[in-house]
């Protein structure tokens, strides 16, 4: 009985000697370091802006966001060292007692290579978006306060929670934290009605999908007796799968909720509208960071926990992958708005990643991680170019607005060309290896038809990207409409932050296209793991079984 408890006991009606203290869960705070950095950074930024009402230096919040996200990404390095079992990290000795993945917060959060990799990917997405958003807010005349950055950091922290979850409720918590901040972010542009509309649509549909997910969690809890992923996996080892209807229904509902978040067909309907209406830097974050976190949740719940149950969920993911790849590519071709084209292409990429998820193997998970990392840079760079070309008002996103871009802004057009080729899977770009590893994983898991559909849809999608590239390098009327030939004077100004972000994306895309092993090695080492918490008399609920 601590002194504090005796102090509080004076106010209670229970006699002092009968007070039984509640034990908190065992928390290894070092494992939560990236999460804490992101959250504390966001809160400090919020408090600072409330206290310092005076004018802050130019781009203050954007730079602060980049710093916070960088610190969070760097904070994963000692954790990675501990998980991978390195003896020394640079110059300091790794003083961890037990190497390897570990659980914290009473077994509800699991720090393993997979979660740390996705944490870094999400932090990269935050950095790129902050660089883009800085001048965007200024150009649009929106409030340059910390609102957008704080929401983005909090959303990223939700993503990190999803990636390192060991419990279905923590996955849900991360999903909600991730989503609710992004709903507000989508509606951040107060002067565009499309932004408000997209925010509302995203909110309504997203809330439904979160509710589906939670219902699925409830059913799985009813069937297995626990929400802890370890306990569920142990339960799976004892029970014959196909007889438990409650469990099957729970799995299906959870898949619906998560498939919505990754915009897999047929749960994709929100994606084009939201990507079209939301502010372009925010869409960069949605397409990169939110998708990465959602896929992390998907892998943790299905590939990791239900891996012995594969015959039930794999066919569904198979179907989702085929539909997403084909419909994403096919519907993208008939669009005239570049943002909607990118939204549909994002759906098609989600299909590719689902193909790697369906493989369910270590290679499949490594392919997922590689694809997420490279796709983050490809799509953030693409939306960076879209932000610049959108001009004031963020409204110039038709294909005709890209006509002649190669003449006015050759570097920008070249960067966009490279990023689009990367998304198409052209060799010497990271996108090629991303698709290659995903298809290899599917083939190794004997899903040959899936791989065939993937290759065909890649060809269909290539037409989409080439269409944009051709529009950029064309000038004047080509397929019927009389576009004006832009002169040198109409050169688009490229702000420093956006230029830096797009340049970084191009460099990373080419770098990992030439030297993929630099990224493949960490992706292979980043395997998800379920680790029991050390002291089982605290926190972990024993499964009660059927």
């Amino acid at each position: 009985m601590s002194a504090l408890a005796t102090f509080f006991a004076q106010a209670s009606s229970v006699p002092g000697d009968q007070i039984v203290e509640v034990q908190g869960p065992s928390v290894d705070w070092r494992g939560l370091l990236p999460l804490i950095v992101l959250m504390v950074g966001a809160l400090l930024m919020l408090t600072l802006s409330s206290v310092l009402r005076s004018r802050t230096p130019r781009s203050f919040y954007a730079i602060a966001t980049v710093v916070v996200a960088s610190v969070a990404a760097i904070a994963t390095i000692p954790l990675w060292a501990r998980v991978q079992g390195w003896e020394k990290v640079l110059w300091w000795d790794n003083g961890a007692e037990v190497m390897g993945p570990f659980s914290t917060v009473g077994g509800m959060v699991g720090i393993d290579g997979f979660g740390l990799f996705v944490t870094v990917v999400v932090c990269m997405a935050v950095i790129l978006t902050a660089l883009l958003a800085d001048d965007y807010l200024r150009r649009e005349g929106l409030d340059e306060g910390p609102a957008l950055y704080v929401l983005m950091l909090l959303s990223a922290s939700g993503g990190v929670m999803m990636a390192t979850a060991n419990d279905l409720l923590v996955v849900f918590l991360g999903l909600e934290t991730l989503s609710i901040a992004v709903y507000v972010l989508a509606a951040m542009h107060l002067r565009r009605a499309q932004s408000q509309e997209s925010g509302l649509k995203y909110f309504v549909l997203g809330s439904f999908s979160s509710a589906f997910f939670l219902y699925g969690v409830a059913l799985v809890y009813g069937a297995t007796g626990s929400t802890n992923l370890i306990a569920i996996k142990d339960f799976m080892a004892q029970v014959v799968p196909a007889e438990n209807g409650l469990l099957l229904l729970g799995l299906a509902l959870m898949l619906v909720g998560l498939a919505f978040k990754v915009s897999a067909v047929p749960f994709h309907a929100w994606s084009p509208d939201v990507y079209d209406g939301a502010p372009s830097p925010v869409v960069a974050f949605m397409a990169s960071g939110v998708k990465a976190a959602a896929f992390a949740g998907l892998v943790r719940v299905f590939v990791l926990t239900f891996e012995n149950y594969g015959t039930t969920w794999k066919p569904i993911v198979y179907a989702l992958a085929i539909l997403s790849m084909v419909l994403g590519a096919a519907l993208a071709i008939v669009q005239s708005n570049v943002k909607r084209m990118m939204a549909y292409s994002s759906i098609s990429h989600a299909g590719f990643i689902l193909m790697a998820v369906e493989a369910g193997s270590a290679d499949g998970t490594a392919a997922v991680l590689f694809y997420l990392a490279t796709y983050t840079f490809m799509v953030a760079g693409s939306f960076g170019v879209i932000t610049v070309v959108g001009r004031r008002g963020d409204g110039r996103h038709e294909l005709a607005d890209y006509r002649g871009l190669a003449r006015t802004n050759p570097l920008l057009a070249a960067a966009f060309t490279l990023l689009l080729f990367a998304q198409a899977g052209v060799p010497f770009t990271a996108g090629f290896f991303a698709k290659f590893y995903a298809v290899t994983a599917a083939v190794d898991a004997s899903s040959i038809p899936l791989a065939l559909v993937a290759m065909v849809s890649a060809v269909i999608a290539a037409f989409l990207y080439l269409r944009i590239v051709v529009a950029m390098f064309m000038s004047g009327a080509d397929d019927g409409d009389d576009g004006t030939v832009p002169t040198r004077a109409q050169r688009l100004p490229i702000p420093a932050g956006a230029g830096l972000a797009i340049g970084l994306c191009v460099v990373v895309t080419v770098l990992y296209g030439i030297l993929p092993d630099a990224l493949v090695q960490p992706a292979r080492e980043g395997q998800p793991a379920l680790v029991q918490v050390d002291d089982t008399d605290q926190g972990v609920v024993a499964p009660t079984g059927p």
């Binding site: 601590s2 504090l4 408890a5 007070i19 203290e21 034990q23 809160l43 409330s50 206290v51």
Partner: protein, 124 residues
């Protein structure tokens, strides 16, 4: 299996109650409808305003600024809902509970501070 049928039988009470309620209301209103004469006159369909002639339209505009206070109320009400159970068993949760609830209160207070400084709580 008998507990299952007992359980369902308890819902029979609910069903009968609901049926009687609906039936009673429908019956009384229906009886009135059947028995009363129908002689529609224009004056009978005017809006009632304590016997005098109605002034103005029925629609009034509510101030949109109420929504801010409603939003803030909901957030802090939920916070209060979380604090009450902790407060009744303060000594059982000891330091862990104090730090946990303290961080919740601090987080929401930071949000309040931000809202205050941004002028959200101003009425006009």
């Amino acid at each position: 299996m008998s507990e299952y049928s007992d359980f369902v039988r308890q819902y029979l009470t609910v069903a009968i109650f609901a049926g009687v309620g609906v039936g009673l209301a429908a019956g009384l209103l229906g009886l009135g409808r059947i028995l009363r004469p129908t002689r529609p006159q224009e004056q009978k369909y005017l809006t009632y305003e304590s016997g005098v002639d109605a002034v103005g339209t029925a629609w009034s505009q509510s101030q949109i600024r109420y929504y801010v206070f409603a939003l803030m109320f909901v957030i802090f009400d939920v916070e209060a809902v979380f604090i009450f159970p902790w407060a009744t068993r303060l000594e059982v949760y000891g330091w862990f509970g104090l730090v946990a609830m303290g961080s919740v209160i601090v987080l929401l207070a930071l949000g309040l501070l931000h809202a205050w400084r941004k002028g959200v709580i101003r009425w006009a």
